[in-house]
């Protein structure tokens, strides 16, 4: 068993794949730098990310998978779930070692797992599209704080840009401490310094004039549409898990 330590980037992962083929390794264990414990009797290989090698692997992958298939691998990686690199690497190796396109081979454990991860990402993306609650600030920016389970902000850009083309907005991932900002033309990634007295989730101090009115109206609306005789808490919680509540205007 060879342990491959890589830097956690997609290019690093692809470089590791290159090494596996270059050195004809068969049994490997891929680990992000600093996440694993060193085991005795294991060969250890430090992967130095190499863009040229990564690119060759990516090019090869593109001949084996559809554009959509390549994108799924990418999404599965930047989801940033712990200890998934071996499944992603397994998927890539399975694609290389098989003549036909393997994307739909749902009986295979790697295809199954990647499909699961992508599904989880999609679901989280969809939840964020639903649960983002913008608050209008004095400078006319619409600001929202979120705490998604997985790293989905990059997947949200297109949706929000298409939808809110005529307002400035920012969606900030409090957990991962970065956000996306749209300035009426382009979007960019931003990181902000928040102080303890004004944490990222709290923008009340800079609300625009009518912001509180509309939050109040929305809360009222939410209460009015409930039908008490049909109350179903289990179903309610399945749709809006509690961990999302603290950023939902109607639930605060």
């Amino acid at each position: 068993m060879t342990r491959l330590i890589y830097d956690g980037t997609f290019e690093g992962l692809l470089t590791a794949i290159f090494e596996i083929y270059d050195r004809r390794l068969t049994v490997v264990n891929l680990q992000k730098d600093g996440t694993g414990s060193s085991a005795l009797f294991e060969d250890e290989l430090q992967i130095i990310t190499d863009d040229a090698r990564a690119n060759r692997v990516l090019k090869g992958l593109k001949t084996r998978l559809s554009a959509n298939g390549v994108q799924r691998v990418y999404i599965a990686h930047f989801a940033g779930m712990e200890h998934e690199e071996n499944n992603i690497a397994g998927y890539i190796r399975y694609a290389f070692d098989t003549q036909q396109n393997i994307e739909d081979d749902y009986g295979n454990k790697y295809v199954q797992r990647i499909s699961q991860i992508v599904q989880m990402m999609r679901r989280e993306k969809h939840r964020m599209e639903a649960f983002v609650r913008f608050q209008k600030l004095q400078d006319d920016t619409y600001y929202a704080a979120v705490e998604p389970d997985f790293n989905v902000l990059p997947l949200l850009i297109r949706h929000f840009k298409n939808r809110y083309a005529d307002q400035k907005w920012m969606i900030y991932d409090v957990k991962r401490n970065y956000g996306i900002y749209y300035d009426l033309h382009d979007t960019e990634f931003v990181a902000m310094e928040f102080s303890a007295s004004a944490p990222a989730g709290n923008a009340i101090a800079v609300f625009s004039e009518h912001e509180e009115t509309y939050q109040h109206l929305w809360k009222n609306y939410f209460r009015s549409v409930n039908i008490a005789s049909r109350k179903n808490t289990k179903l309610h919680l399945r749709h809006i898990p509690k961990r999302y509540w603290k950023h939902l205007t109607e639930k605060i």
Partner: protein, 418 residues
């Protein structure tokens, strides 16, 4: 804006609109091409009420004043309640400001009847027109057409709205006569036919001229109230089927009657809302629209009622044991779709995956098949078909016993919490 007054109106007019179930905001493809506000494409549920229903649109009445007296309706003339009416501008402002904050996908606007059908309908249309033309709004708009409104207004409504609906309210004409003596079923069917004709015609135009304006791109839907009148499921689903076939309806919504009024003609005030039945009707409706079932396979004169303890697909399967077991690695997609416990996505995955290798139980489970139900109806690579000689009745017992014990476990753990 007078915040208190608008708050009060919102409370009254959202409360009055909440029994209308059509909240879906999908089926339209309105793009934001003009750097304006919003798009209507994928129908997001932004929140959920405590009763578990999706909140996707600002669903309100323009007014709950009404000249009619339908027995099942809280806004009926003879009901002694607070009345309110929004101004056109108030509805526009609420919609835009809620939309900008990502609370909603758009507006669902319905109304009591102020003076006459046209007078009311005209106001609904004005609101939609203002949103589209003055506010550059591309979000979803669903207008409920007022029965009896003129064709001219209906046509204009179709130019601004994504979806239009005319509610049938009662599954049969007799039911309607009983509870809504002021209303006339033909007044509902005429606009449906008109819309259907118009939608088809505009679609043809759109094929020829790309620039031709959209007309109700998300089509039309309707709602029927369940359990206020004595119709059985066969009558209800046949009505739905008739409207799907002849009027190209996109959706029929089934709304379990919530007793809100004491009236001799209606179920008593403490009657439970028929929630399970409503759910079974939706499941049956799905089978008709997506799973290739004919309405007569689901309900017929031998089987006029849907089973309340099992879903209609399982019901069909155990009445048709001669069709099973099917070999999951060979059967047609259309038969796989008929297996209880296999949904649309799983069925498609199975058909893709088996091109590589035959599938076994474990793989089926990982693909997302609910084996606790499906195992009685299929064989796969593993050969050992679970329960070869069971009758339909036995299978039903097994499945119920299993879900019962799951249910009990849940109850148990909930009790432990307190």
């Amino acid at each position: 804006m007078n915040v208190d007054r608008v708050t009060e109106k919102l409370n009254i007019l959202a409360d009055a609109a909440k029994y209308d179930v059509s909240c879906a905001s999908s089926g339209s493809k309105r793009k934001n091409e003009n750097k304006g506000l919003g798009n209507a494409s994928n129908g997001i549920c932004h929140s959920y009420t405590e009763d578990g229903r999706c909140v996707s649109l600002l669903k309100i009445l323009l007014t709950n004043h009404c000249i009619f007296d339908c027995a099942y309706c809280v806004s009926r003339k003879s009901n002694d309640i607070k009345r309110a009416a929004f101004t056109v501008q108030e509805v526009v402002d609420l919609t835009i400001n809620f939309y900008r904050r990502n609370y909603i996908e758009g507006l669902f606007l319905s109304s009591g009847i102020f003076k006459d059908a046209d007078y009311t309908m005209e106001r609904l249309v004005t609101i939609a027109k203002k949103l589209r033309t003055e506010n550059n709004f591309n979000g979803y708009i669903h207008l409920k057409s007022i029965p009896g409104a003129s064709d001219e207004l209906m046509r204009e409504a179709g130019l601004y709205a994504d979806r239009l609906s005319v509610n049938l309210e009662m599954p049969t004409e007799a039911g309607l006569k009983l509870l809504a003596p002021d209303k006339n079923r033909q007044d509902m069917i005429d606009p449906m036919a008109f819309l259907n004709k118009e939608i088809i015609q505009r679609k043809e135009e759109k094929k020829l001229f790309k620039k031709a304006p959209m007309f109700a791109p998300a089509g039309q839907s309707t709602q029927v109230i369940i359990g206020a009148t004595p119709e059985n499921d066969q009558q209800i689903l046949h009505t739905a089927n008739h409207f799907y076939k002849n009027f190209n309806l996109k959706r029929v919504y089934y709304s379990g009657y919530v007793p809100v009024l004491a009236d001799k003609r209606l179920p008593g005030l403490n009657t439970a809302v028929p929630m399970v039945r409503e759910n079974r009707l939706y499941q049956a409706d799905w089978l008709m629209r997506f799973y290739g079932f004919n309405v007569n396979e689901i309900v017929n004169s031998q089987q006029p009622l849907l089973d309340l303890d099992i879903d209609p697909k399982l019901g069909w399967a155990i009445r048709n044991m001669q069709a099973f077991p099917i070999d999951i690695n060979k059967a047609d997609l259309h038969m796989i779709l008929r297996v209880p416990g296999i949904g649309l996505h799983s069925a498609q995955k199975i058909v893709s995956a088996r091109k590589f290798a035959f599938l076994n139980w474990d793989q089926l489970k990982k693909i997302g098949v609910a084996l606790n139900r499906a195992k009685y109806f299929i064989t796969c690579k593993s050969g050992d078909y679970e329960k070869r000689d069971l009758t339909g009745t036995k299978i039903k017992q097994f499945i119920l016993a299993e879900s019962q014990s799951k249910y009990l476990k849940n109850v148990q753990s909930q009790l432990n919490l307190f």
